[in-house]
Symmetry: none
Subunit: 299 residues, 2 copies
């Protein structure tokens, strides 16, 4: 079987259906690539696309999507709850089958170079493609966001990996990289107080002394008038979903706040969910590889 | 995405290696089908095969196995501890992926018709394929066994669903049907009092007024000196695992007893576990088909 590589570009548009449909059309038009999923959030003003494909197709699809976003999303007019620095904010490549993170690092660099060469958008390489330790972390790379980037790029340590120290006037700057699969897991609270979600997010995330493989921020869901702890679980085996969920529950109690629901955004590996079922059902000696029927079908 | 359907035929031969190997060869030779597992029990004189495949392959494999069994197992000379009525005793079809019980009922009827047309073996449709309520239950269908079938078929209510009121002289009669996957789920209590496990099992199971799709008995784990509620979850969508688990927790409290663990015996579909993760993590609007990454790679 051929290699399968996943690409999960995040675009800074979650409201304009014409633009979102344009991105969908492009994702579906590139040979050797399948659009698995796409979801748009109006309050985040962000769309997350999930594509899988072979080594050649996934690179072409990523480039064409970034090109379309640069032509149709104007960051000087963009506002939303989610931090962002570019029309295409991030472009991670993820090994799914018969591929490695190292291969995805190479792919990320090829795509980054092409984006800069042809579209004149500067690029930060991040995650496992990062050129320095401080660039591994997207939050650090993105700090300052679109509006702060012109100043940030003048700082000694923040020269882009591809391109000049100058953002694209409307498309900003994009982070391209490679990483292991990620689960976007958001927990909704029965409060409209964003400061509570912010405090809990800080406790959860590694940078705040929390879990090594969790990132988190507080987000206000304006349409529901509730606060949310929005997390990226960057290694669901190192930090399982249930552990952050129960810690959020525990910490929320201090404020008399309860969890009212959660969201998985986009795709998750089955194991990230099954590990949680094992925990809550207290299953003894469960063998994921052998006892999940589908694992005998995946060849 | 391709449909995946499971078939678990039971053959009335558990000793003769030549015949068992012949069945294995056939199971492995049909295109679009994978033999996941097979086990033979000499004292039961019975072999259970587990195959998965696409809609076309699984029908062909089932038919070819029944044909081989009819040519190589002589029920007039067959003896064993396990009740049986045919060379191939039962042929259940089970939806695994992108398929439904309703589709498997249709498949079971097609295979049943072909078996009767080409091999002249009469068929009872059972489980969800049953034509009358009394035929849902295999034990009732099989009552009388091979030796009693000639008389039973003459009874008003026991005309075969396919074929005449006359067994095949050496292959007898076969039950063909469809059902949901079964999950063997046991919950361990911190008590050595089997009567508590028995009382809870009665509350859980349909026959005791409990959950429609759960069967349960109390079992003593002698080596650990603890009592267990041992369940067969016959439709994990109708009665999810977490619901019995939490009900056991609640009922055990009456006796001051706690759950100390659980076991999944053998295989489980991923969805049976993921449904539990969804419940405990309070995931809103989770789409199993779309959001589980592996579901997009299995086709």
């Amino acid at each position: 079987m051929a290699k399968i590589i996943e690409c999960v570009p995040n675009f800074s548009e979650g409201k304009n259906e014409e633009v979102i449909n344009g991105l969908v059309s492009i994702a579906k038009s590139v040979g050797g690539v399948t659009l698995l999923d796409h979801s748009s959030d109006a309050s985040h003003n962000r769309s997350v696309f999930t594509l899988v494909g072979d080594e050649v197709g996934i690179q072409e699809a990523a480039f064409q999507l970034v090109k379309y976003a640069s032509e149709n999303i104007d960051m000087t007019k963009q506002h939303g709850e989610h931090p962002r620095m570019g029309a295409t904010d991030v472009v991670p490549f993820i090994p799914i089958k018969d591929s490695s993170v190292e291969e995805c690092v190479e792919i990320s660099k090829k795509v980054a170079k092409r984006i800069n060469d042809e579209l004149n958008i500067p690029i930060f390489l991040y995650e496992d493609s990062a050129s320095t330790p401080s660039r591994k972390n997207l939050a650090k790379v993105r700090k300052g966001q679109f509006e702060g980037m012109p100043e940030k790029l003048k700082e000694e340590e923040w020269a882009p990996d591809f391109g000049e120290r100058k953002i694209h006037p409307t498309a900003g700057i994009t982070a391209v990289g490679a990483r292991m699969p990620l689960v976007a897991f958001n927990v909704n609270l029965d409060t409209s107080d964003i400061t509570i979600a912010n405090k809990i997010a800080k406790i959860i995330r590694a940078s705040g002394g929390g879990f090594k493989y969790a990132k988190g921020i507080g987000v206000m869901l304006e349409d529901r008038n509730i606060a949310q702890v929005s997390m990226n679980m960057v290694n669901f085996e190192g930090t399982p979903l249930y552990r952050t969920f129960e810690t959020i529950r525990m910490e929320a109690k201090r404020y008399g706040v309860n969890i009212i629901g959660s969201e998985i955004i986009g795709l998750t590996p089955a194991k990230a969910m099954i590990d949680c079922a094992e925990y809550y059902l207290q299953v003894e000696d469960f063998d994921y590889g052998k006892q999940i029927l589908e694992n005998h079908l995946l060849g």
